[in-house]
């Protein structure tokens, strides 16, 4: 069947009870009740601290066929996921569904356990490198399920993704299981993604390298949600968890794109006192901070809040009074996590608060402006951030489609050409964010406004940016680099891209 994004979706997909095609960003009216974890009971003065991960695995009753989860706040410094899965494998447990909030390069270490059948299904935001290639090869028993951060929170809360055991790397944890992410040698800042797992998993194991006496303050994940605690030597490598301050790019092309994006914001009609803003952490998206800041200072405008993955340039804006508050689902660098620890205007939030479309209102709905990156775009404004030009999984859905849908103005920034590859195609290989939620595409050679946004087209006439049609951008790219050959795909579905509301937006087919 063909969905509303124009994609051909199989009637039946392994891993989905019912295939509901994407129907538009807000077309689905959810029904029913939220799910919840099994009821717990803890007697006074009982002991949660166990001696080892092995012991914790036994205590949770983990068995063949269950679903386990992890968070990715430690990024490439994570030790938890790999060590827990190795321990599970040693016990001979098989056929697990692995449902981390995302996978990073460091998680390549689990490839042998996928090949041995310890893990036979994966539901996550994305994967890169060898792991991405493995998932694209169709090694799993069923297609990998790709969800956005908001979509994952929704799936957990409504029971689409039922987690049996959540293993939570805890930078600081007390003897009753209260957790925060801002203390200890493996501090990662916000625990936003893990909060949802903790609240809904049947069993929750906190794994920490910074066990403190009771009580820990502040608390990000409360003791009421934690069953067991294991102390280990190290849960991560601090160097891989958070980098030094992320700096604004010096790449002239990224700066040019960022400058155009900032002008688009300035003239969009949304650049007003108390507007709100989210920036990505990469290249041109982050560089836009520099130009937006200049405009805010020049025009005496301050923003009500900044949102998202938090980086040093954003923290500087908070400290300079340009942002009144930051809402933080994850931290990318050391200044960001220090700010979360020290600045009361820097507020931690869960992935559900951030972006779940099926709750009382995620904060992305309050967002005026978001700047997002892209791998590929197409003439219908659809964006792909998951598969590369060979059709191989090499990225993550993240909060891309969540913020694009929530924000009043969603701007996608990307170079028109990467090497010899045009980045605006007839149709992207995989849709992660539907074009109807993308308002403006900004490249170094021109700015294209979605025809659905006539208001923006009018406003941007005065913006001193090279306004063009999306087809013109594509033509410029093709003139320079030629028309790319389409990726030859087989019929085998190796991935499902679920939209944030639980419908099927696209599938990833195995390249031939």
């Amino acid at each position: 069947m063909r969905n509303a994004a124009g994609r051909e979706i199989p009637e039946v997909l392994a891993g989905l009870k019912k295939v509901v095609p994407y129907q538009g960003p807000f077309a689905i009216r959810p029904e029913g009740r939220l799910t919840g974890p099994k009821i717990r009971m803890e007697k006074p003065r009982s002991e949660k601290l166990l001696k080892s991960i092995d012991q914790a695995i036994d205590a949770t009753g983990l068995a063949d066929g269950m679903t386990i989860s992890f968070h990715h706040h430690f990024r490439n410094g994570d030790f938890v996921l790999n060590s827990v899965i190795a321990a599970i494998a040693r016990k001979g447990i098989k056929d697990l569904t692995l449902a981390p909030s995302s996978l990073t390069d460091v998680n390549e270490a689990i490839i042998p356990f996928i090949e041995q059948g310890v893990i036979t299904a994966i539901e996550t935001s994305g994967a890169r490198g060898k792991l991405g290639r493995l998932l694209t090869a169709g090694t799993l028993k069923r297609p990998v399920m790709i969800r956005s951060h908001g979509g994952r929170a929704r799936a957990i809360e409504c029971g689409d993704l039922q987690i049996d055991v959540a293993f939570i790397g805890a930078p600081a944890c007390d003897l009753c299981g209260n957790i925060n992410g801002i203390e200890g040698k493996s501090a990662c800042g916000s625990m936003g993604y893990a909060m949802v797992d903790a609240a809904y998993a049947d069993k929750v194991v906190a794994i920490t390298d910074h066990l403190v006496p009771y009580p820990l303050v502040p608390i990000s994940i409360p003791q009421t949600q934690v069953d067991y605690i294991v102390e280990v030597e190290a849960i991560g490598n601090p160097k891989g968890i958070a980098s030094g301050a992320l700096r604004i790019s010096k790449d002239p092309r990224e700066l040019l794109i960022a400058e155009y994006a900032a002008k688009v914001i300035e003239y969009s009609g949304y650049f007003k006192q108390d507007f709100s803003l989210q920036l990505g952490s990469g290249g041109a998206s982050l560089a836009a901070a520099k130009f937006i800041k200049e405009k805010m200072i020049d025009q005496g405008i301050t923003a009500s809040f900044g949102l998202g993955g938090v980086t040093a340039p954003f923290v500087e804006m908070l400290e300079e009074g340009l942002l009144q508050a930051i809402y933080d689902v994850q931290d990318f660098d050391i200044p960001a996590l220090q700010s979360l620890k020290n600045n009361p205007k820097h507020q931690e939030m869960s992935a559900s608060f951030y972006a779940n479309p099926h709750n009382g209102g995620p904060i992305v709905n309050q967002l005026d402006v978001v700047i997002l990156s892209a791998t590929e775009m197409d003439i219908d404004f659809n964006v792909n951030v998951i598969t590369d030009s060979n059709g191989v999984i090499m990225g993550a859905s993240g909060g891309h489609c969540d913020t694009a849908a929530g924000a009043a103005l969603s701007i996608v920034v990307a170079p028109l050409l990467r090497g010899r590859l045009p980045m605006i195609l007839d149709r992207v290989n995989t849709i992660v964010t539907p074009g109807e939620t993308v308002d403006v595409i900004v490249t170094e050679r021109g700015v294209a406004v979605n025809p659905l946004r006539q208001d923006l087209r009018d406003n941007l006439k005065e913006a001193h940016v090279p306004l063009v049609e999306i087809q013109d951008l594509q033509r410029m790219a093709y003139e320079l680099a030629g028309r790319p050959d389409p990726i030859q795909l087989s019929d085998e579905v190796v991935g499902i891209v679920e939209y944030r509301d639980g419908t099927v937006l696209d599938v990833i087919r195995k390249p031939q």
């Binding site: 010096k250 002239p252 092309r253 040019l256 170094e444 050679r445 320079l480």
Partner: protein, 295 residues
Amino acid sequence: MLKLRRSMMFVPGNNPGMLQNAGIYGADTIIFDLEDSVSITEKDSARFLVRNAIQRIKYPSEVAVRINHIATPFGREDLAAILAVKPDLIRLPKAETAKDIQVIDAIITEAEAKQGFTPGSIKMMAAIETAFGLMNAYAIASASSRMVAIAIGGEDFIADLKTSRTSHGSELFVARAQLLLAARAAGIQAIDTVYSDVNNEETFITETTAIKEMGFDGKSVINPRQIKLVHGIFTPTAKQIQQAERILEAYQTALANKSGVIALDGKMIDGPIVARAERVLAYAAAVGVRKEADK
């Protein structure tokens, strides 16, 4: 309209990525370099890359090519390849005599005839990079009707002077002044040298402001990030434009009234002041901060 050469951006001729993107930054002139930024072993590949880029890519800026000196084994080969695709401008490095210019002029004249290009349509500029060259600057600047600008090549020049670059720039002051005089005497533009510490914006701005005040028409840049800074300095302010408009208005009113002495805000307005005001407005129109129609 005034031909602006505020920013002349060097682009190494052997870097395909940079050639592809050279047009997006808004430089007044792009200079594809076949000379110092290209090693001996890459001279031929750079020449072909630049030729193909000019042929295939529509650049929104003036396109110049810095060839190797005509006395080297590469200079004539550069011209043979590049002239066929009709660059706007040929830049000769290390010009020392009028003869250097005349030799190239003759080669260009021949190529224009052979290719059927309008005679004289390919322009020239030269960089003065030695004390000897500077002594001949006026002769070089006026050696051909193709000449539109002379530039100072600072690093080589300073080496020839046996000194080094300073932040205050006094080592280049005489040379800059003399180059400017030669350019003005010949009726062509004067372009300042590059500033290579691209992360030091503060000194770059100081230096560019100083050469603009001396009378230079533009500056060579080596990084796209420097373009906006140069343009900012060369663009007349709203206040300057307004003042120029008032001067011309007062001048025209006086002409209409046949009044002999013209004054504005208690200051006398005479020929040079009117000429300067006209130049400010022409410049403002050329950089697009004031439309021609507003005049």
